[in-house]
């Protein structure tokens, strides 16, 4: 069985909102569209988005970190939003695990949005049907595109490659390896929804350098010891400071 998903690397996301705009751009023109905004240039603009990037501050000044957090439907493996839908408009595809809404069946009762703990679903004010991330289902199977382009719009747009896309049930896929080897985790695991999308945590790159690695022990230029040994904080141009 296949379960397509996104893996989002919080270590590299810079919060540039490129995925937000490219998602909106693709999907307003794609099969999920239009995604019309209300009052777009007014004081209180609002509209449907499948993907939002939020920002959190972790820690206490001055020891804080800014974490940008992209958020969209997680295509849960056990999606609580699906069984509650009275019309069957919300469904999870067997073949690839994508959770979708059939806009022709949806009655706009909003019940599925109540049943999603992540707030991933948004009612389209103009069309009055429930919308959410489709993992660009109208893109990833489009054979008129080059292989490289058959990825969700957000993945293509991300300038830092913070978004990976693939089958998390295939242990050899890049997403599975990232989850396994970089500590990928699901959101709100306490509800048993088993989100397919995973997040990679912040990581600090730390290198342990041992003292004997700081100077070349076998440097042939140093053997005559004619010049004084430079202090550790002085420049060490071997030819000049040979000691």
């Amino acid at each position: 069985m296949t379960q397509l998903a996104l893996v989002i690397d919080l270590n590299v996301c810079v919060g540039c909102q490129a995925c937000v705009t490219s998602c909106k751009e693709w999907n307003t023109a794609g099969s999920a569209g239009p995604m019309v905004d209300q009052n777009p240039y007014g004081a209180d603009p609002t509209g449907t988005f499948f993907n939002r990037v939020q920002t959190f501050e972790v820690g206490e000044f001055p020891n804080t970190e800014t974490v940008h957090f992209p958020k969209s439907c997680l295509h849960c493996e056990d999606p609580p939003c699906v069984p509650v839908c009275p019309t069957g408009a919300s469904y999870k595809r067997k073949e690839d695990g994508i959770v979708l809404v059939d806009y022709d069946k949806c009655i706009g009762c909003k019940y599925c949005s109540w049943a999603c703990p992540y707030g991933a679903r948004e009612l389209d004010e103009q069309q009055q049907v429930m919308k959410k991330c489709t993992l660009c289902v109208d893109r990833i199977y489009d054979t008129s595109m080059t292989e490289d382009d058959r990825k969700p719009s957000c993945v293509k747009a991300c300038p830092t490659s913070a978004r990976l896309f693939g089958d998390i049930h295939d242990p050899q896929s890049a997403v599975s390896i990232a989850i396994r080897e970089s500590g990928g985790y699901p959101l709100m695991p306490e509800w048993g929804t088993h989100p397919a999308n995973h997040y990679l945590p912040r990581r600090k790159t730390r290198i342990k350098i041992h003292e004997d690695e700081l100077e070349r022990a076998d440097n042939p230029l140093k053997v005559d010891r004619q010049l004084p040994r430079p202090a550790m904080n002085e420049p060490t141009l071997d030819d000049v400071t040979t000691w």
Binding site: F49, E60, V82, V84, P86, C106, I107, Y111, S113, W191
Partner: protein, 325 residues
């Protein structure tokens, strides 16, 4: 959650209608066993069913305002295997049909004896329809309440108390209405119905107090830490990703200050329980004005109760929508 007026009206109106029907058939059963005098069937059961039907139609009408696409509402009967909302959509019209037939049979005085139970008890169509209606009324209470109680993320709702309270509060308002209605059409039944209305109101008081007590002590299962998966005691949202509103900020927040919430709570606690109880007990002798007032006060209280029911429920998605900047 944002309390939607359509849903508040739907649940309170059909709740009262279900309670009213249960009251009618309770009276009929007691009368069949000669524990109560026989009222004028045409007026009490016939017109009483009509009144229940009017409430049901009004509730159903209100529910359509909740839908983005009311013209597609028929589709919502499809997923009854998994969805309580779908089940409600099926049971509600079925119940309306039974109430209609029950009322019609009484209205036309259609009482052919179909069979007799031991003890010379005649069984006519109204008895069979009454039993069916009773089953449907309870099924409908369960469906309506389970729509809320089955959502495990909303811990304020995820409790058997939700189901119990929907039954008790609907029953209380229905029996109160039946008592007021009987004071006009069947005065000999008033004290019986008002007595039951008082008992159910009292039980409802206990049930709702229990859920208020429970909800005041709930500990949310989700936190900002589990929501974004970062284990640090101090996390603050700096921006939710947009500056205007969104569906997420409109649908899941009631947007009222705590003082309003508290005021609504005290209003409903008074208006649903002690005030109607006083009015019921003083109207017991058949004083229509007092009994109508009892129902009016209780129904107004129930509107507030339902508003509070929604407003109090705190959705975990709100963790993601804390800050605009």
């Amino acid at each position: 959650m944002h309390p939607a007026f359509s849903v508040i009206l739907l649940t309170t109106l059909i709740g009262a209608a279900q309670g009213l029907f249960l009251a009618l058939f309770t009276a009929q059963s007691y009368a069949a066993f000669k524990l109560l005098p026989q009222p004028d069937a045409h007026a009490f059961y016939g017109q009483g069913s009509l009144l229940a039907l009017v409430l049901l139609v009004a509730g159903l009408g209100a529910s359509f305002f909740h839908l983005g696409h009311p013209e597609r509402a028929w589709r919502s009967a499809a997923m009854w295997r998994t969805s309580w909302l779908s089940r409600e959509v099926i049971v509600l019209p079925a119940f309306m049909g039974v109430v209609f037939l029950y009322g019609l049979a009484h209205w036309l005085n259609w009482h052919p004896v179909l069979t007799t139970l031991p003890g010379e008890l005649p069984v006519d169509p109204t008895a069979i329809l009454g039993v069916a209606g009773t089953l449907f009324a309870f099924a409908l209470f369960i469906c309506t309440a389970m729509i809320y109680a089955c959502l495990k993320f909303l811990s304020e709702w995820h409790s058997p108390l939700t189901v119990i309270n929907y039954i008790l509060l609907g029953g209380a308002s229905g029996f109160t209405l039946a008592a007021a209605f009987a004071s006009v059409t069947a005065p000999e039944l008033v004290s019986f119905l008002a007595g039951w209305a008082a008992i159910i109101t009292l039980l409802g008081w206990i049930g709702r107090s229990a859920s208020l007590y429970r909800n005041a002590r709930l500990k949310p299962k989700s936190s900002l830490q589990t929501a974004i998966g970062i284990k640090h005691p101090r996390i603050v949202q700096k921006t939710q990703g947009f500056m205007g509103g969104s569906f997420n900020t409109r649908e899941f927040f009631h947007g009222q200050p705590v003082a309003v919430l508290r005021a609504v709570k005290w209003f409903f606690v008074l208006a649903v329980f002690p005030l109607p109880l006083l009015l019921l007990l003083s109207g017991m002798q058949g004083r229509t004005g007092l009994l109508v007032a009892a129902f009016a006060v209780q129904y107004a209280g129930l509107l507030a109760e339902r508003w509070f029911f929604f407003a109090q429920a705190n959705h975990p998605q709100n963790l993601y929508y804390q800050s605009i900047a």
